[in-house]
Amino acid sequence: MRVTHYWRALWGIVGRELWRFVTQRERFVSALVRPLVWLFVFAAGFRAALGLAISPPYETYILYEVYITPGLCGMIQLFNGMQSSLSMVYDREMGSMRILLVSPLPRWFLLLSKLLAGVGVSVLQVYVFLAIAWADDIQAPWQGYLWAMPALLLSGLMLGALGLLLSSFIKQLENFAGVMNFVIFPMFFLSTALYPLWKLKESSILLHQIAQYNPFSQAVELIRFALYGQLNLHALIYTSAAFAVFMAAAIFGYNPSKGMMSRKGGA
């Protein structure tokens, strides 16, 4: 199998996803509205109620809007990962997933390409969101926007791989509502996206521990530190490990002889 074959297939899959994203304006708008509502409505309302002590990577007191911005970047990627997962279940029901899976390329590569396509879209969304926040004076150092790129890629890969894994378990589109209730909401609210860990610890040790081990928390912290030009090594290792585990499980799930596909009766 030639390298050019892989390259062309990758671009074919990524190009298709980007084309879909660009042509489906409502998807683009709705992906942005959610975090913007959190930023401009929720954060504004809670600014007075939630006092934040100085904690890394911040070197001074910050507004609540500044604190939740990295969390909302993570939120965009979390929802995008689940949206990709939803579209894979849809594609499987509609049959177009079959064309991808019967291509003469290793299945892990096809899934990784699909994942990269989704990550590309989510990173675009995050930067548009950050640009709007910047225009409203919620700004990080300019270098931070560059450092955030690899962090966003890794967090996007991890959350996308989770979505991919979930899509291998879900047979029907109707079952997807459960993902919202049992995956997205707990992951988001039991994380450091909206409040720092020490704040959670004040309320509940158990919630603090859950949030600490939640891979989404680590992804958010990775983005948060990167936006301020710093590397959170623990978050980097944790997010990378979570990505490796989710991706391996997703590849296993889509393996026709071993995973869920064999038990469910195909793609």
């Binding site: 074919g12 049959g95 064999s262 793609a267």
Partner: protein
Amino acid sequence: MKATIALAVDQLSFAYGAKKALDRLSFQIYAGECTILLGPNGAGKTTLFSLITRLYDSHDGHIALCGFDLQQQTCKALATVGIVFQQTTLDMDMSVMDNLYYHAALHGIGRKQAGQRIEQELQRLNMWERRQEKVRQLNGGHKRRVEIARALLHQPSLLLLDEPTVGLDVPSRQAIVDYVHQLARETGLAVLWASHLIDEIYPGDHLLVLHKGQIKANGTVNEVLTLTGTASIREASQQLTQGEAT
């Protein structure tokens, strides 16, 4: 001398849990031959296609495509197959051209070469004029033509058609049946066509009659008629599948 073997299935079995769907199937498909896989609904045709394209996997038995073992040399084996699924698998919101370019990319065909092949296939199927239209705007027959063009784009040795004419009107069906037979005759393409419609069979076709996961007959039209002692394929099929064929 017998032609090249495009598909060899050996002692293939598959089950959905405890329910056996295919039971020790063995057969071969040759280049230039149009083989009709005949059987009523639920006979196991779609399961067989899913196994041949490795959407499902079975550890009972072997499948080889153009000499490539599907388990061991999956990518090489799949590169030799073009498939039209029973259900439309085109992206409805993309144009005909974009759907075909996407498929070409998945098969590693460069943009320029893909463009030439797309034009060739669409011209042959009288769809070139509609290349910029969104698939959603096409009727059922035209969608099927696009799917056939897509299946042929990477110049496969074996074409799998899983009841591609279901839901089409008679002229559209006839056009597709004629075109595929012509392809097999002129290009040496091996065709495995799953159907439960008797009138899609040409006198020179090879027949595989599948019923409840087992092969009930395997031979030319004349051989099957002789085997069953009947005068028509309809009667032969009814006899072999106990009156369940249409």
